[in-house]
Every structure is written in C-alpha cells, then in structure tokens.
Symmetry: C2
Subunit: 210 residues, 2 copies
DNA sequence: CACCGGCACATAGCAACGCCATGCTACGTA
DNA sequence: TACGTAGCATGGCGTTGCTATGTGCCGGTG
C-alpha cells in the first residue's frame, strides 16, 4: 500500500481500535492478520501503534472504559440523587449490553495498573453521586461514599456479568431495583421514597448500535 | 511411550485436568504441547479424551463447578438458615480465591448449555437455603426463593469478580456482610438478628491448597 | 492356536498464529 | 542536494491447534 503519512497517524490507531471493536461485536476472531485485513495498513502498524497484540487489547480495554465513562456522563444529575444513582446503574448496564464482548474484555483479563486507573474513574463518578445523596440527607450522615459506591458497583457488575455473558436470563436485570433499594435503605434512605427514586432511575435505554 | 491400557483410561483424563488446573494456578500458559509435556501421553490423548483443546477447557469449567459444589457441600446446615446463606457465600468466595484463574475460566467464556446446567446446580443449593429461611419465618412468607437466591449469588459474584481478578482490594470482601444483611432485611428479616447471623456465617476459611 | 478388526496412542506435518529483522520510502533539516 | 529519521511493507521464525498416517495392543472368531 502507498505510504500516506510520515508521522504516526492517530487515525490509524483509531481505525484499528474501531475495527477491533466491530469485530468483537460481530464475534469474528481477532487476530493480528485478520485485524489489518481490509485496511490499508500492514501488520507492522499494530506494532507501531500498540507495540503488539497485547498492547492492542490493552488499548481496547481503555477504549471500553472511555465509552463507559461517556455513557455515564449522559446521566444528567437531577434533584434526586438516588434516582441519579439508579440511572447511572441503568447506563452502566446499558453500556455493557450494547457491547457485551467489549465488557468482557474489560473485566476478563487480570487488571493492570492502567486498567485499574480507568476503572477508578468509573468508580469516582459513582462516588460523587453517592456523596450528593449523603449531602441531600438521603443517607446517614456518617455514610462512607466510597463504600456505598463500591457496593453499588458490585451489584451492577454482578448482575451484568451473570446476565450479559453468563447463565441468567435477561429479566434478572429487573432485580436491580429491589437490590439497589435494599442497599440504599440500609444506608439510611426511607423505604417507599427510595424505591420510587430507584424505579425512576433504573430505566434502560438502548442507544444507537455501532 | 509404552501403551499401558487398551480402553480409554479415565486416569489419563483426570491427570490432564489436574495438570491443567495446576498450570492455571501457577499461571503457566496452557497450550496443547505444554499440557502434555512431562506427562507420559502425547498430544493425541487430548483429542481422545476431550476432542481438542476446546473440549479440554469445557471439561475444566465443569471441573471448576464440581469443585465449587463440593466446597458448598462442606457447609452443614445449622438451625440458623441466614447464617447458612452467609456461610455458603463465604464458601463460594473462598473457593474462588483458592483458584481465581479457574473461577475466571468458569465465567469468562460464553456460557454453553452444559455450563449453564452446572451453574444451575450451584444456584439450586442457594435456593434450598433461601427456602429454609423462608420456612423458618426469617423471610416474608411470599418471598420468592429463586429470586432471593439469584440476588444473593449476584452479590457474591459481583464482589468476587471485582476483587479476585479485578481492580478492588481484598478487604472489599468485608462489604459482603452489610450487603447481604441489607438484602435479607429487605426480604423480611429483623435487622440486628440478621446482621448477627450473617456475621457468624461470613467467615472465610482457607482450605488446603491443591 | 492363529488370525484379524478395532481402538488408543505416537509421529510428523500443515495452516495459521504473534512477532520481528530487514529494507524501502517519504519527509524534515542543513 | 544530501543525509537522518520515522513509519511501514515484506518475508521468515518459532509456536500454536489440529489431523493424516502409522503402530502396537486387546478381544473376538474360525
């Protein structure tokens, strides 16, 4: 192929990542050669941009967390922080279901430092929402926002990974409402009000396919 | 090597599975050739017994669920079914931590029918415990045992997969007590009594390495 | 007893895999 | 104009999972 650019082209990197994400969705096996087949670059581009296939998978995990962060960012905070927490959960679940194989890639491999940092950013979004709920006196004053955010995330992740790529049927996701309600009530929120808030937030919207 | 037996030897199958499990634990890459290296069998044995590496991984997942079932079976039912539920959780978590890579193999691949069946057996054990709690009037009379067992499992799995092979630190497992308590209280149990029961059950014992 | 069919396994080779040494080409610099 | 450098194409290396072929042992049959 003709050489188009002299300096390292970020578009090539993006092209490869998007193609990898697409192949992941269409369940084609991703190999070094199949990844570059059809593109205008050779196998060496993978080494220039990612330093090998391992680096490509790392970058793909990063991309997954980036998309997750973008999806969580679409949740606009309302005057009901408990609804917001549930809405973040719905966005989290929706993101995983839009590309379950990418979600599996994000969490299947043993976590490395950069992956853990990307995951921390996800957790941080939840922490902020939990802290808003505490400041709005929906939670007990001594509630640990990190702890509550972690528990919330664990519930999301447990449900998603057992349903998206696991043995449980899809309607199991409906349990999210009562599980989150139980958790938030244990943190101090009032039962009926909490359930109503969670129900309003736990609405799964389906975004455009990619 | 000398041919020892005429008919398909189950010991060879067991030998290969145990070696695979051991290599998984020691984090050696498991390839067809590395698996049979050091044994007295050739690569063809993998095809005789497992019909290829895919079948070997399937059998290894089955082995993982078998070990999990055996571990759960060590929990002897007491007169406190809520403690038993938490103890099952501790056994579940302990099993996953004894061989985290095996746990990942069990849940990483897209579930096939036989895997789903093995997972159903795990869930069934939890359902029975949940039903005992309902019959002991610790839960509301209209509690759905399948639903509650599923929620319990989701909490275990969420915590384990975020800690064992994920980004969260180990002490996050301590959240299991309050998470399970919140769930069981929402199902009808009394707060203080529930917490005491869960605390007594959620004791992580370390079994012998294998 | 002699023979043979079938099964489990050993050997060797194939296509495809990730990876990398080598060389070419297009730019920036002087 | 001439050179250094960075990105990429090519081709080959070692290894992977897999399988075609050959070998040796067992059990049934004449």
């Amino acid at each position: 192929m003709a050489v188009m650019a002299r300096s390292k082209d970020p578009a090539v990197r993006t092209l490869l990542l998007e193609r990898a994400a697409h192949m992941l969705r269409t369940r084609e096996p991703i190999t070094l050669r199949s990844l570059v087949a059809g593109t205008c670059v050779s196998t060496m581009a993978v080494y220039t941009h990612f330093n090998g296939m391992d680096g490509m998978w790392r970058a793909l995990r990063q991309e997954g967390f980036t998309r997750l962060a973008a999806r969580l960012a679409t949740v606009v905070p309302s005057d009901d922080p408990i609804r917001d927490l549930a809405a973040l959960g719905a966005a989290y679940v929706g993101n995983a279901f839009d590309s379950p194989d990418l979600y599996r890639v994000m969490f299947d491999a043993t976590f490395e430092l950069e992956d853990a940092h990307a995951a921390d950013q996800t957790l941080h979004t939840v922490i902020l929402a939990a802290d808003r709920a505490r400041q709005a006196h929906r939670f007990d004053a001594d509630t640990d926002s990190l702890e509550l955010a972690t528990k919330t995330w664990a519930i999301w992740h447990g449900l998603v990974s057992l349903v998206a790529t696991g043995p449980l049927p899809r309607q199991t996701l409906d349990y999210g409402v009562s599980m989150l309600t139980a958790l938030f009530v244990s943190a101090g929120d009032e039962q009926a009000r909490c359930r109503a808030s969670v129900k309003r937030g736990w609405v799964h919207d389906r975004t455009q396919g990619g």
